[in-house]
């Protein structure tokens, strides 16, 4: 018998109603993520990447099909599926430490455990010297570190990331990509990562899922069999880049035409 996937979307569709007019954001999407996998979703703007992620998180209910985690239907957001937003979503009135404590505290953990967990994950993302600082005093990259520590401290089994590094400068972005891969390989985490940067997807993913627009669908999937750590200047990396770029451009052409 096949292994049960940690996350599975079966024939999932989502139609939004906007001013009474239906907008079909997603149609017939199938996606299955195995435990420990690092999956990247790429696709043109508006092809339903965020929608798919929000369905997986449980923020929205699908209008067709089924979404499940470990075979159980997803009925709403929960700690086992941690979300990292592009705009961070940190609580501005809490210090870094209290932001990381928020999850364990909500779930009624004991004080000892809350504190130990928070310290451990603050250290994991390298923010121990900033634990008592408020979010508005942090740079974008540091805020995103807090957001990552926050879901990890809450025992997230799968981390859903919606263009988490999209707003960061190139250097910070690269540094965080490295750190994310490092954390992922050390903790056995599962990651579903949305991006529209092809290079980022090839650098990070075990598997890249390409979506196409109008309405949003899963177009194709590629297993990236490059050895880690990956060299973005290598020939194989370039081959992947070329392949995925031509794939995405064909979508653009179709949409425009």
């Amino acid at each position: 018998m096949a292994e049960i996937p940690i996350l599975e979307l079966r024939n999932v569709g989502k139609t939004y109603a906007q001013n009474g007019r239906p907008i079909e954001a997603l149609r017939g999407a199938n996606l299955s993520v195995k435990k420990g996998e690092f999956v990247c979703l790429i696709g043109a703007s508006g092809c339903g990447k965020s929608t798919l992620l929000r369905l997986a998180a449980g923020f929205e209910a699908p209008t067709a099909g089924e979404s499940s985690m470990w075979g159980m239907p997803i009925t709403g957001p929960g700690p086992s599926r941690g979300m990292v937003f592009q705009d961070y979503g940190l609580f501005p009135w809490l210090t870094v430490r209290d932001n990381v404590r928020f999850g364990p505290k909500s779930r009624g953990r004991g004080w000892r455990e809350i504190n130990e967990t928070a310290e451990r994950f603050i250290e994991l993302v390298g923010l121990q010297n900033f634990a008592d600082v408020y979010p508005h005093q942090l740079s974008g990259g540091m805020k995103q570190r807090v957001a990552i520590a926050r879901v990890l401290a809450n025992d997230a089994e799968i981390v859903l990331m919606d263009e988490p590094f999209g707003a960061l400068d190139a250097m910070t972005r690269e540094r965080l990509q490295d750190e994310l891969v490092e954390i992922w390989s050390r903790t056995g985490l599962t990651v579903l990562f949305v991006t529209h940067a092809i290079e980022e997807a090839i650098f990070l993913a075990d598997r890249v899922v390409v979506m196409s627009p109008g309405p949003g669908r899963i177009d194709s999937e590629y297993v990236i069999d490059l050895k880690r750590p990956r060299d973005i200047a290598s020939g194989e990396f370039n081959d992947w880049r070329r392949l995925l770029a031509s794939k995405l451009h064909s979508h653009h052409a179709r949409k425009a035409g």
């Binding site: 599926r81 979300m83 600082v133 005093q137 570190r145």
Partner: protein
């Protein structure tokens, strides 16, 4: 304050690279600290001078010179100058006014905070109460004066009611605004971290609304001081508003002005106190802290 701006150094290495405050020479430092104080003083001193030269040594002047007002202020506070019915009565009137200001304000908070939260968060209550509030709100507090005299009679209860009304609407409106304008993203963040239902109210809505609520409280307390004078003109015996009105009838203009100065000073101190509390509460907010 820690304010890292770039990501170029690893977080662990940062503290060593924290910028040191620029050293200034002593004279420069003192000057930069004194400058705002001196600038703030210059204008009132100018006004005081104008007032003095326009009134001093003119017996026919309707307005007494600053020196007379200063003497009256001392007499009101400590006596020993005029020794009339007003000597050493300042603390009585001040206490009466302050108890109405803070009492009315406190009552306004007790009613407006929960009501505002309910209107802001419960659609059914918003739909049934909010339109009425929107119609009542533009009625100036002074327009309530006659009605409040009819209901509460001549006396301190009327004043108290007006102060309550004056503080009520700013607190209410800002509380509603605060609890309604919580970023949706924060609810999502809370619920994916396991904080759901009513817990979200205390852990997300309230803290997020605090800056707004605070603004409402500051405005409300300011209004309470504005309204107290009007409120105390309704036939009460004590209070700063009462002696101002009474002194006008007795043509004791120096008492009128002295009373105004006391109201201004205490209104200012009261606002400073609220600001101090706000800076503590809202240290996290880039616009308040």
């Amino acid at each position: 304050m820690l304010a890292p701006s770039t990501e170029n150094t690893a977080a662990q290495e940062r503290p060593a690279a924290m910028p040191l405050p620029v050293r200034r020479s002593f004279g420069e430092g003192t000057w930069s600290r004194l400058r705002p104080v001196l600038l703030a003083m210059a204008f009132p001193l100018l006004l005081l001078a104008l007032w003095h030269f326009a009134t001093a040594g003119r017996p026919a002047s309707l307005i007494p010179p600053p020196h007379d007002v200063w003497l009256e202020l001392q007499d009101l506070a400590f006596g020993g100058i005029n020794d009339d019915a007003y000597s050493r009565t300042l603390h009585i009137h001040l206490l009466a006014s302050m108890s109405r200001v803070y009492g009315g304000f406190a009552l306004a908070l007790i009613v407006a905070l929960p009501l505002g939260m309910l209107i802001g968060r419960v659609p059914l209550i918003r739909q049934s109460v909010d339109p009425t509030i929107q119609i009542l709100r533009p009625i100036p507090v002074t327009a309530w004066l006659p009605l409040s005299m009819i209901i509460f009679g001549l006396g301190p209860r009327s004043a108290f009611f007006l102060v309550f009304l004056g503080a009520f609407f700013p607190v209410l409106v800002n509380t509603i605004f605060g609890v309604r304008s919580v970023e949706p993203r924060l609810f999502e963040a809370a619920s994916m971290l396991g904080c759901t239902g009513s817990a979200q109210f205390f852990r997300v809505v309230l803290p997020a609304a605090l800056p707004s609520i605070f603004t409402g409280m500051r405005l409300g307390l300011g209004f309470a001081w504005v309204v107290i004078v009007v409120g105390e003109m309704t036939g009460v015996q004590t209070g700063l508003g009462a002696i101002i009105m009474e002194a006008r009838q007795l043509s004791r203009t120096e008492i009128v002005i002295a009373g105004m100065i006391v109201i201004g000073a205490f209104g200012f101190l009261s606002d400073q106190l609220v600001m101090l509390i706000g800076r503590r509460w809202l240290a996290w907010s880039p616009t308040h802290g």
